[in-house]
Subunit: 665 residues, 2 copies
């Protein structure tokens, strides 16, 4: 159920108004709109392209450069074998259910969720209560998926049923296909439009398939994540890093998921930009991080697995240092990245009251993960997963190493050589063939796979009886007897100078489009007294355009000044745009408030005379007037976050000459 | 035939050495290498990622921001209908020929080319001459495609045949499938490995196909160019630009082509980054450009269509202003972009002696183009098309408008209303139905389609005879007689206040990966006297890393200095990397010369004492020593191109303390 969110100025957030603005100002457009459009595909227009470019630039500085990560760009096209090994061919799917009569296909978890939510809403209406999902004394849990077609009708439910529904909804992400099928049967969930029966949920793989090369025999996919391409380069990256651990690779690029029925605008799309980090860490020693102290006191809102499984959704505010020492967050490296993610989101302008970290439940986790926390941002669509931070353990490197026979591991010279006492098996392989024939290999493998415990027992047997009995499945009666002539088992000491290990991977994975959408919701508001005038208060660091250059009119005298200002700002690295259209200054500023342009310079006749300019702040609409040099200095200092507008407007003379025309465009 | 190219220091260029460097320093790696690799797919490693990011950043500044272009990001996934309309489904293909016995598939033009080149080479050998393709007195024409398997055997050719071969090779891009089939028959071109017969060439579509959504009925493709997504947004972009013409959209993103048998490393790949501009211009008035004067004196090497058709490849050096006024280059806008492309390539470090602009021949042009010039860069693989600059006329906007019924045009308010006198047809439609029944619509359309000339004749007929005869194919005997009661044709005046037109599109299209590869070849050289020590002299503007921070050793005292320098350089926007590995200073500098790092700072014990640092120039290996403040100022000025190293090293004290250890790593 969509929550009622408010803007940063406390107004109720009006999604339709923002949507309309985003389309009108060409932040985005439905892809192929003149051909009727394709669901789940959107084109970015000029403002959103610039916002995204600034996001990527800052992300690179904040993570890649600041932490010395190794950026790589693997290809989008990926052959079958790679994604078979990684598990995506078999497991990267959603459960979908089909209406055999109409041919409609629904995503099963979304359908169950929507129908139960609609019934709860209908129940509330029947009880004559305000339409809020009944929770357990906490906030109503806004859900993150979009309406299918389920409409609420005012029907009262039994109290017990109502509680069951709430409980199911809190755990909806934890159910697999068979379980969803059960729920559909139990609660008589049908096609919401026709009330027709639905088939049992089946898995639908979310990867786009294609074939590579002219023969059509090489099946390939468009990658569902950038991670696999990074893992495959692990050995080369470790080399590039002079064999030093820990280190991270990073990649910014498009990934693709063939969503069953994408809705929710920019939030659930079939093609999206990801920025992913794969941080490789030694699994021994508790996965510590050498910069953890820098972040230990940062507080996060945490919603852990146990709370959700108990059917609740209340978060706990906690220092990340405490969360790690209490083992709520498993280790320092995971904790370090959670805190860094929050810091990054803060810097680009995400509302800090609309962020929480939610731990995945066991069945919800991707097939490769051992632990996972999502940074979720609150929007009018509910809490949206925007950054995943998973501990993928050694899963990926291990499976690729096994599939290819290529070692993907770290060799570490031990400071102190390690003495190891263990039972060693010696086989006389020459005698194996003649004795066991075709079973020789199976017997050999069974013997070599014996555990230390078994070896200890068998070494005694061998001493006492002169022979041992080893279980070998599929050979003879499942047991094979081996005499001293064939095998010897003895405790021996060996000295290890090197340690070999497969690193574990901590993966912070950013869904760029989702974050940008949340950013737009969080920073959108309207002028008091003129609610049709929208403003998007992007911080300067990501604002699509930092400075608008606004000559009072088309007068020739303004042109050289505007041109010079543009060049000077570019030299300072400050993006700027000229608006010399015929519209009034007020209209031009209103237009640029909607585009999120941080600052505006007006060039007027006084500028021609005395080289002074006015500088306008988007959020307060107040202006100052000073010399060109002073104004440029102020802009640089504002864009770099050295000064705030309050400080600048306190030290420079106020300007109240040209009042903004407060009219709608 | 691959040419012998030389490095910028005049050494013979050794491709194997550069390739080895690029792999060793992880500029790139074969994608999925541990799975055996996939032809035509490469992963970019850290240095090439950084080079590409700097390229994109500068491209955005040089084109998008400098010229106020509107950046858009359309999706990669594209539905069938769009690419059917654009012509790609039917025409975006290469000719391939198959060996029915072995199943091998060859690209037909490459095969013909390689076999004929091999025969020419064999002929030279048989004649005992140096192995250079015999031309026509000019340079040997190095071709841009890669070897198939054709090996030269020393067989002398007839003189006439030799000339035929040369002539064919000069026009190889001009042949279609049937013509290539003819050549294969005429010159007995077979499978070079088995000498088996080959089938006639058939068209192989180069797009990767997939299906969108769960039903598998929506065919889609991975786009072969970013252009179509830009065109579909034309109406919105024109709105965004306040209906002002001309303007340009731009897009940076991946495109895909399922090459038949990709070779030539980074030059012929299946997935590649494009940066494309679509500049919309009024087709009336000669496609002038308001900034053409700024570039008119820039000289380009031009290789026009006529020269190529005559079997030659000699270029002419010419000012772009002259080329346009002589109509060698069709119009100012096309000419403006050719000059800007050359300027851009120059700024990022492309060798200006290795660039030419080649005009496409008629059959070679893409199906949408009316004229096209390629910026080709000379590499060891021959002349490579790196930037295409096509005049796509009104083709794309027209076909999409027709297919969707959406007007994609410009409405321009005329300064002076236009009076138009023309023959107007009036039909009495009410009487049409009863008279012509099912043929009514066909007759009406035939009458309305009459040209002005025909209308003039028929209006006289109508006056004189009272009736007219109109040809209507498929109705009656192909002619229909209409009387005055049904139709009237008269000359009338109407006044037009608006003009409607479909803009033409000039499209500069950059293949980013190809340019980056050429850049690496052009800037690679080796130290004299130590040819194993490679250097890549990237200009600072694109160098993957601008400054290397090199503490003399791992000593604790150096760490705070290095950390402070890193922060200060980042604040100045100068990318830097620390190398505090145990290797000697000389080795670390040698490693970074290979990575193309422009400058190096050494922090030594004197730095701890007196805060001075040494600054080293990659290309000369000379060093200066000065205060931290002076060094940072010099770096900024070098990176911004304000000063050259000669100037900096003339004004700051030379440093000759730590000699570089000139040893191989």
């Amino acid at each position: 159920m969509a929550p009622t969110t408010t803007t940063k100025t406390g107004q109720p957030f009006d999604r339709a108004q923002l949507d309309q603005l985003l389309r009108r100002r060409m932040f985005m457009a439905q892809s192929f709109e003149i051909y009727g459009g394709v669901a789940g595909l959107f084109d970015y227009g000029p403002p959103l392209c610039a916002l995204q470019a600034n996001f990527v630039d800052f992300w690179r500085k904040f993570f890649v450069i600041e932490e010395g990560m190794l950026e790589v760009e693997p290809t989008i096209l990926t052959p079958h074998e790679v994604l078979k090994t990684s598990g995506h061919v078999d497991k990267f799917s959603d459960w979908c259910t089909k209406d055999p009569k109409t041919g409609e296909i629904f995503r099963a978890d979304h359908l169950v969720e929507e129908v139960l939510e609609a019934r709860l809403k209908g129940d509330l209406e029947a009880r004559g209560q305000a339409v809020l999902v009944p929770g357990d004394g906490e906030e109503a849990e806004p859900k993150k998926k979009k309406k299918i077609k389920a409409k609420a009708t005012a029907v009262k439910l039994e109290d017990a049923e109502r509680d069951e529904y709430s409980n199911i909804l809190a755990q909806i992400d934890n159910y697999d296909g068979p379980k969803l099928g059960e729920l559909m049967k139990k609660y008589k969930i049908k096609n919401p439009t026709t009330n027709g029966d639905l088939l049992d949920p089946v898995a639908f793989n979310l990867m786009f398939q294609t074939s590579i090369g002219p023969s059509s025999q090489s099946v390939g996919y468009m990658r569902p994540e950038t991670a696999q391409g990074q893992f495959l380069n692990f050995a080369k990256l470790l080399d590039f890093n002079n064999q030093q651990m820990p280190f991270a690779s990073a990649s910014i690029g498009k990934s693709f998921r063939n969503e069953i029925s994408p809705r929710a605008g920019l939030l659930r799309v079939r093609e999206f930009l990801m920025a992913e980090i794969e941080h490789y860490v030694d699994p021994e020693g508790g996965k510590q991080h050498h910069r953890f102290e820098e972040v230990a006191n940062i507080e996060l809102e945490l919603l852990d697995r146990d709370v959700q499984l108990s059917g609740h959704t209340n978060t706990t505010r906690m220092k990340i240092g405490d969360a790690v020492s209490k083992k709520i967050v498993d280790n320092e490296t995971l904790g370090y990245f959670l805190a860094r993610i929050q810091e990054f989101l803060k810097r680009i302008g995400v509302d800090q009251t609309k962020i929480r970290f939610r731990q995945h439940m066991a069945n919800e986790m991707a097939h490769y993960a051992t632990d996972c926390w999502d940074a979720e941002l609150l929007t009018s669509y509910g809490w949206i997963e925007c950054v995943g931070c998973a501990d993928r353990s050694a899963y990926d490197l291990s499976v690729h190493a096994k599939a290819t026979g290529t070692p993907l591991l770290v060799r570490e010279l031990l400071k102190e050589p390690r003495r190891i006492n263990e039972y060693v098996v010696d086989l006389d392989k020459k005698k194996f063939g003649p004795k066991f024939k075709k079973d020789g290999k199976a017997v050999q493998e069974a013997v070599e796979a014996l555990t230390q415990e078994m070896r200890e027992i068998l070494s005694l047997d061998l001493k006492e009886k002169g022979e041992i009995e080893v279980p070998v499945s599929g050979v003879g009666d499942g047991k094979v007897t081996l005499g001293k002539d064939l095998v010897n088992i003895e405790k021996k000491e060996r000295v290890e100078h090197m340690r070999e290990y497969v690193p574990n991977v901590i993966e912070p994975s950013f869904g760029v489009g989702r974050i940008l959408y949340a950013l737009m919701e969080h920073n959108f508001w309207t002028r008091e007294g003129d609610e049709a005038r929208g403003v998007i208060s992007f911080p300067a660091i990501v604002a699509p355009t930092k400075v608008l250059l606004c000559p009072l009119s088309n007068h020739e005298d303004f042109k050289p000044i505007v041109r010079r200002l543009g060049q000077k700002l570019r030299t300072l690295g400050v993006s700027n745009r000229v608006d010399d259209s015929g519209a009034s200054i007020g209209k031009r500023y209103a237009r640029n408030d909607e585009l999120g342009t941080a600052l505006g310079i007006t060039v007027d006749f006084q500028s021609v005379k005395d080289k002074t300019l006015t500088l306008r702040d988007r959020d307060t609409t107040t202006q100052v007037r000073a010399s060109e040099e002073e104004i440029l200095k102020a802009i640089k200092s504002l864009c770099e976050g050295v000064e705030s507008w309050e400080e600048v407007s306190a030290r420079l003379p106020k300007f109240e000459g040209q009042q903004e025309v407060e009219t709608k465009e």
